[in-house]
Amino acid sequence: MKRHALTTRLWHWVNAIAFIVLFMSGLNISNAHRFLYWGDYGFDPADAWLVVQRFPAWMTIPQRYDLAESRDWHNLSAWVFALGLFVMWVMSLINRHFARDIATTKSDWSPRNWLTAIKEHARPGAHGDRSYNAVQKIAYGLVLGVGLPMMIATGLAISPGFEVIAPWLVDVLGGRQSARSLHFLFAWGLAGFVLIHLVMVLWSGPLTQITRMITGGKRSGEINA
């Protein structure tokens, strides 16, 4: 049995590309009005809770300020991102990836187990051949179940054409400008996850990890049996 199912691997790489395009084009869109507000309205920088820095061209798609083109990249990749996440969830429930690998048990919520997991991984290359530890399960669960879906929910809530379909979504998120602020915060939260994820991959043997995410690898049980 493969360590990573084909759908998991496909989604991982498709989603990685979609996320990079969304994030970098999103930074370009942020440059159009670098002020974030809470509530329904907000246009006066004096009312902003956060003045966002101007993101340099190397961080953005395209590599110059162009609101129309960055919106094109963003609104195209959003389809890939949202439909991909939907398929990933359906498949994870069907092939039991979620139940088997990500769903936590009571012991996963003990801070002592978190410490143990972190200590075990402090040595380079120590990343296990075993199932996900408590910290991984919680991190992957939060990304799949909260972080990525919140990007979609807050993104849809900013769209005036979508708002007439689900006005309650904008209300639940605290108004359009709150949804826009949350969209920004969750995007950076996910960028933080990606950074830690990449550091952990480098720390634990990048060749093995990347190969496994491409070929699928083998379940540890079969190696150590």
Binding site: I20, Q63, L67, P160, R176
Partner: protein, 249 residues
Amino acid sequence: MPDIRRRSLLAGIAALPAAGCTQLAESEPVSDLFDAAEDWHRKAHRTLASRQALAPEYPPDERSPDIKGNGTVRIDDASYREQFAQGFPDWQLQVRGLVENPLALSMADLKALPQRTQITRHDCVEGWSAIAEWKGPVLSDLLDAAKVSEKANFIVFRCADVLYGRDYYESVDMVDAYHPQTIIAHELNGEPLPEKNGAPLRVRIERQLGYKHAKYLTAIEAVESFDEIYGGKGGFWEDIGDYQWYAGI
């Protein structure tokens, strides 16, 4: 050496967005894909909501203190300045194009029609929002009075302002043209429309972003297509900046 090949493939994928996007974006298949994605958004919105579904309206105490002016905020043209100073006594709004009964309406004519007052949120493509009360006749009443031909597919809004040396204009399809909240506003928060917000007349397209809400209106034109109008993409920003014609997202 499969790992090295894989690594260079990954490096290629990683470099793609950074280096390749601009060239990709200008290639025809990708630009077609952008247009298709926008079309899917429009179709999804139209499928999931009723064509007449209303944008949210707010109580008076939820209005924002002001509404920012964007794009053109002042018109230097002498005849506009004279009209502005006098309260637009001779301003005319034409309803023309593919109509049986072309109209030329004065400000008094427009105010004599049944009025709709709505407190709605204005969302700019840049990201900011403002909430204000708009008042004016419903566009569908004007279109009905002018008897729009069945051949017409779009309504084009002609404007008095000139940006970067080109006339501003915009357009919508018949779904948004006949939407109950699509009004020709002449009042903002109970006062005549200020110059920065499009005095004397601006259209409200409440389910789309601000650049669709053409200001300083001079004519409303029913057309079959906008191939022959300016850049042919149906709007000022669509022509000069490649903004998407559907601005519901």
